[in-house]
Homo-oligomer: 633 residues x 2
């Protein structure tokens, strides 16, 4: 019988147990100061010589003996003879022996024969940089456990330190496990999972100051996992096994750690990240990370980062926080802390945050995230428009330039986003895939700058305008055409079912894949259904929803659906066939304030740029004949 | 005739001119994704395959065809046969052909013969992870000019991208110049300056994403500087010449740039950093940095960092800001922006900031700085206790653990600081060298946690207590002994002048070096003077002040003074002789709240640790016989 349940230990408690149970020993290594940037000192370092090592002129001018200048004034100018009374000096020159002050070049008058006139006395040691002003022999330059910044290296070299004892980098082994796992570069067959997690884990560990090595992939075999761990323990200070950390029938990591050492924690009260194992073997820390990427990376940060920070004597890095208004409701279950990846835009002076997909398997949610909303274990979540604090992945200043595009998804929005960034790298176009209806609501309520909409109104035969009039009767928005695009049936190559019209879908029960409620394409499909006198229950798969054209095409390509409604480039991306059905108008809805902003001007300049239009039309199924045209509404 | 004056261009204006006049061209290079952490994309990257590439079980359990489970309930359990009705699946397994849903292992009952019972129906596609849920073919993974974080690498590999085009690192040449400049590792003779600036400059540039190469040192020779620059321009994208950037007779950098190209700016309205040159040669940016380290590093950040950020399409990194109370007055002159390095401590719930030395040559002021106070060009500075905003070099959380030790300087304070950090790496002991009198004022007014004091009261013959009673009559402080230490005459090796008593200093006019007003050692010297019936004007050098024992010893070692009053370890650090004079008591004055804090307990545990005491006494001239003893006052 399989072990089915994991513990539900709060994250803080799990971390405390882990840190109490293990420690990475500190080893010192001696390296050149010139290459010690960001390394952490192993010992306090005291200066072995002084900088400057002699009294030096602190200004360009002349060196004098101050005593000899006492009494000089406008009424009683002194004349100084070279060599005898003064020496020319430049900043940094050693003060010649027998002289104790510098008069600035601005305050001297050149006379003939190299003589010089002064109108004021010098005070002893004026404009003289004393020995050791920068660093003095015996002075503490940096304490132990200090992370070396660039100026520290200068002070060390100035203080005569050429080599320095730093903490050796802890060695971390990453053991990828799973019979289905293959190298990321290997050819993928059905059932294979490329091991991209190890690269991410290694990259994080290197950023945190460790040396990380990715070990060979181990299949789901208890004996092989055991020997891989044992081998790694001989050399490494920290062992990370990715995945097999849950309690399924092929999850051996926990059993192996129990066999060889001690499991402190199996199961953390977080979502994602729950199936995490924390333990020790021969006093060395070992972490079993979940296989789902988001779970793995968050769990790594919760447990490996504090271990390394403690090792280096550094405080745990804190992310900046930001108060944001929630653009959508975010629900959560009691009992687990939940970590929701959020996008943030700056709309009308407010930071508006929207949740990204919650799936633990969606790496892209981390790629797109501007911040993280942490919902405590005792919370049911937050309502729309509620103010919450999020942890930022990016500097706040960068988020102030984030444009928020809600509404329908089109590949052109992605193209627009990357072109915008090339034109003005400060700017970001973040997309929330809310569908056309969601986009109208978001722009209307000030929760987004703009939204792509393509909503056909059967009564008038007109796109978008009737919907905007109905849902935003107060106006205050502008509508601009972006593109016309061809919608059609996406079908397997060669269109084996000879799909031509919607009736066939009902009659022949082809497995259909639908779009989510509120999407313009869903509205179009419902309209086609109605026009044909059909009802949803006659369409097999009507309930199955995807959020983008590409995901619809992916399902057809994988053979789990036979037909979907979507755009030509999505079909082309997967080498599928496409049966054109209707050309629709895809517009951008903009709030009044955004419409008048410089950012909107930049956007317009891209949309109307012939080079951009050519690129779009080359994707197939697009016409930009009216791009940038304002539509009355 | 030398050119004496530089322009006084505001920093913002100088930067705008520089950025308008030069640009580093973007070149692409193709590298493996596995090694692309922190690199910046040259082009938008779209997924070339989907992850997962098949429909997969999202849970451990059984795969079923949902249709076949419709109608199952508690009252009407369904019995499923292996192979025919279900397949065992683990999370991530491909969904077997002909099945479209997963039932979790928790919701099934094992019967005999491998049969399984279910009590509820499955909905189609439940617990199935669809093709492309993570990354879907054709999807935009990262736009152009995106700095790659660890999870991005995962998404790229998941999307089938093994190699990526990133911006090649711009190549920067650093040309150290100056006839006095030698390699940092070379033996130093009088007049030599080791080139530690180049290491710092190169380290900063590397942190900012450039490749940096340090070129051979060039003497102050216009022709040689010209050919070094010309040679560098053949290969490098950015040339930095350090120093010779001012207008002295050996400052050739500006002339050479004018000869070969164009000088945009010579002189920036900042202090430090004024003698900066910004120009172009053949459209390549060239920067002439000042020789003083603090000036050079700040100027580099003002001008090279924005150039590189723009190149990479990244926002300029912003430092966090913090409101602090000024522990001391900070004056400034009108006309230049001033950059004052500050230490920060967290005293009684307030961040208290004190200025470090203003000298542009003091690298240690950057090493010690917790933040930077920027005084605008039109400001005369700020008063003590005024609230100002500073830019932080360290995370605010780290500063919350900063203990502020004001008062007298002793080498043991440094030793205490580094021992404290080894015991508790979160803690920092920052020192402000205010002298004993300044320390009493600082602790008394809540501007410091503790202060080292050693003030002899001639009337009572008692150390410290009379002063504390006089200046802090309200009490609220505690006094704890740290050490007894020997004060004496620091003299050249062999004591050539046979210094024994203070009378000789007056009679024989030995060049004396004094300590600053308010220092306990100064109070002691004044007491000795008075006791001997002498006045300050009888002591040659009485006006010449240094702030630490080590700096006094450094001056004697350099031969610019013959005698000073100080402690034995300072003499030993420079191989000088020491004539013992008086053993004095060096106590720690602590505020009431600090005295009762856990941090004070840690401090006490160090002070009373026999290992620490042994280390201190081994330095010579110290006795820790009463260390940790509380003194009534």
């Amino acid at each position: 019988m399989r072990k089915v349940y994991l513990s539900n230990t709060p994250r803080e408690e799990a971390l405390a147990k882990f840190l109490a149970g293990v420690e990475i020993p500190r080893r010192l290594e001696k390296i050149a100061v010139t290459g010690a940037l960001q390394r952490v000192t192993g010992k306090a370092v005291f200066a072995s010589c002084s900088m400057p090592s002699y009294h030096a002129a602190a200004m360009d001018g002349i060196a004098v003996l101050a005593e000899k200048t006492f009494g000089a004034s406008d009424q009683n100018p002194f004349c100084l003879k070279p060599e005898e009374d003064y020496h020319n000096v430049n900043t940094g020159d050693p003060l010649p022996s027998g002289f104790d002050a510098v008069i600035m070049v601005e305050n001297i008058q050149q006379l003939e024969d190299g003589k010089i006139e002064i109108l004021a006395p010098a005070t002893p040691w004026q404009h003289v940089r004393p020995v050791g002003e920068d660093v003095v022999t015996g002075e503490l330059i940096v304490p132990a456990l200090h992370r070396l910044a660039a100026p520290d290296l200068g002070a060390l070299l100035a203080g005569g330190i050429g080599e320095i004892e730093v903490l050796a980098k802890p060695k971390a082994a990453i053991i990828p496990s799973g019979s289905e796992v293959i190298a990321p570069s290997a050819e993928r067959k059905r059932g294979n999972v490329p091991d991209f997690n190890s690269t991410v884990i290694a990259s994080f560990l290197r950023q945190w100051g460790a040396e990380a090595e990715i070990m060979p992939i181990v299949p789901d075999d208890q004996g092989k996992i055991r020997s891989a761990i044992e081998k790694a323990l001989e050399i490494f200070d920290l062992v990370i096994v990715n995945a097999g950390s849950s309690a399924g029938e092929k999850d051996y990591t926990c059993m192996v750690i129990e066999e060889l050492g001690e499991v402190f924690i199996h199961g953390v009260a977080t979502r994602p990240g729950k199936p995490t194992i924390l333990g020790q073997i021969k006093d060395k820390p070992i972490i079993g990370l979940p296989g789902y990427p988001v779970s793995a990376y968050l769990s790594l940060e919760w447990f490996a980062l504090p271990l390394l920070c403690r090792h280096f004597g550094q405080p745990l890095p804190e992310r900046n926080r930001l108060e944001v208004t929630l653009g959508r409701r975010v629900v959560s279950e009691i009992g687990s802390e939940e970590f929701v990846r959020m996008t943030v835009g700056y709309v009308n002076g407010h930071f508006i945050a929207n949740p990204l997909t919650r799936g633990a398997g969606v790496t892209m949610s981390l790629v797109r995230a501007d911040g993280l909303l942490i919902i405590p274990a005792n919370s049911l979540g937050f309502e729309q428009d509620e103010t919450v604090e999020i942890e930022l992945n990016k500097p706040e200043i960068a988020l102030r330039h984030n444009l928020l595009a809600a509404g329908s998804h089109d590949l052109i929005i992605d193209l627009l986003a990357t072109t915008l960034k090339e034109r003005d790298p400060q700017m970001n176009l973040s997309s929330a895939h809310l569908g056309s209806m969601g986009g109208i609501a978001a722009v209307g309520s000030g929760r987004a700058h703009l939204a792509g909409v393509h909503l056909f109104d059967p009564e008038t035969g007109v796109y978008n305008v009737p919907y905007i009039k109905k849902y935003l009767p107060g106006g205050g928005v502008h509508l601009m055409n972006l593109v016309y695009r061809m919608q059609g049936w996406i079908v397997p190559p060669g269109n084996p079912d000879k799909v031509e019209n919607i009736k066939q879908l009902a009659d022949q029960k082809f497995s259909f894949i639908n779009r989510q409620k509120g999407a313009g394409t869903r509205v179009l499909f419902d309209h086609l259904l109605e026009k044909a006198g059909l009802t949803p229950d006659q369409i097999y798969g009507y309930q199955r929803e995807e959020h983008t054209h590409l995901n619809v095409a992916a399902a057809i390509s994988a053979g789990t659906a036979r037909v979907g409604l979507g755009i030509l480039p999505a079909a082309k991306a997967f080498g599928l066939d496409f049966v054109p059905l209707v050309e629709e108008r895809y517009d951008l809805l903009m709030s009044e304030s955004f419409f008048n902003s410089p950012e909107a001007k930049t956007l317009l300049s891209i949309i109307t740029d012939p080079a951009f239009q050519k690129e779009v039309e080359a994707m197939g199924g697009y016409s930009m004949r009216d791009a940038g045209k304002i539509i009355e509404c």
